[in-house]
Amino acid sequence: MPSLKDLKTRIGSVKSTQKITKAMQMVAAAKLRRAEEAARAGRPYAERIETVLANLAAGLTPGAPGPKLLTGTGDDKVHLLVVATAERGLCGGFNSSIVRLAREHIIKLQGEGKTVKLFMVGKKGDEQLKRLYGDLVVERLYFTDVKSVGFDQAAQVSNRLLEMYEAGEFDRAHVFFGAYESVISQVPTALQVIPAEPPKGADADQGDKPPYEYEPGEEEILESLLPRYVAVQVFRALLENAASEQGARMSAMDNATRNAGDMIDKLNLQYNRARQAQITTELVEIIAGAESV
């Protein structure tokens, strides 16, 4: 049976923990709003570039050798998994669920006899995968001191990806990230970025309208467009990831705050019981003393 003083200190410490989780929840909520806005602001560009790419890809003669970024290397041996996670913990199962999905893919691909390489974006995922698959990691990129992800970060990732692709270091690349659905639901997702897959049905915009003129040629445009498309895909993944992270942290901290509240209630009850018991014993002792006189 803990003493009254012990209980009091415990209540105090749980209360201050609750204050911290509450503050973290509110910070996450504010950051989430900003991250959501950023994700929304980036959407027009992504949509337009998808339409443009779909138009161009549809215009290519089928079967003709197109740019490597669109058609692939013709091989399917080496897979690069870009695992994008958060830089910080305390966000529920956010990082773990992305890592789990990546791990499932690694096991499946290795079972098929393919070579797997890892490109870790974000510290937390790296820490989790390091133990099992440390030797597969070919590249690491942390954005620890970046306040909010911008296109520059995405360009950094995609430039590195393109360099490696040019050097023939892999045949296919997937990005793993948490797709943001709502505050309570973030779905770990794998998105193929290389070779680029233009979305189906996005070319409804022009249909059989007059043909485009290209300045400079069609191929040059496609060549400068594809790397940008890859960058945009990576950017989208990073933005969604940022929103998901804050959403996950917000609900995790909300839970923690609630749990701390429950705990305080329980401890308070215990404290009051103990206090009453003490008063009762004191009274009994006084009465017993008075009687014996």
Binding site: Y45, V52, Y214, P216, L225
Partner: protein
């Protein structure tokens, strides 16, 4: 003068969207102007000033890298970087200049990139 829909988007946000009279676009093959009813055209951009004419006013924006997409529905500029003239000062200009200088140094073998970098420096000189 008839107007047409124009939107200027960068990866981070949509900078402009609305009806305009004419837009002067710094294409990589030369400056061109888009007005209502322009034939469908897809062009790459070179660094420079984009001029948007709208009801007698001119709005200037520095753009670097990207595409101009003229479709029957209007003109869309997808710019890698877009900075309004009013915001073009201090660090932003310094960063862009540094980038252009770097391209100039790195791309000795690529005349197109050289030209682009020189254009960027030329445009930024006045800021």
């Amino acid at each position: 003068m008839s107007q047409f829909a124009f939107s200027l988007v960068s990866p981070e946000r949509e900078l402009f969207s609305g009806d305009v009279d004419a837009v002067l676009v710094p294409g990589s093959e030369g400056l061109f102007e888009v007005r209502a009813g322009h034939a469908p055209l897809m062009a790459t951009l070179s660094p420079g000033m984009l001029e948007v004419h709208r009801g007698g006013t001119v709005q200037k924006t520095f753009v670097r890298g990207g595409f101009a997409d003229v479709s029957p529905n209007g003109l869309t500029i997808l710019a890698e970087k877009a900075v309004a003239e009013a915001e073009l000062k201090g660090d932003v200009v310094a960063d862009e200049k540094a980038l252009a200088q770097k391209t100039l140094g790195d791309s000795a073998a690529d005349p197109d990139a050289q030209l682009d970098a020189q254009r960027a420096l030329g445009t930024l000189e006045n800021f």
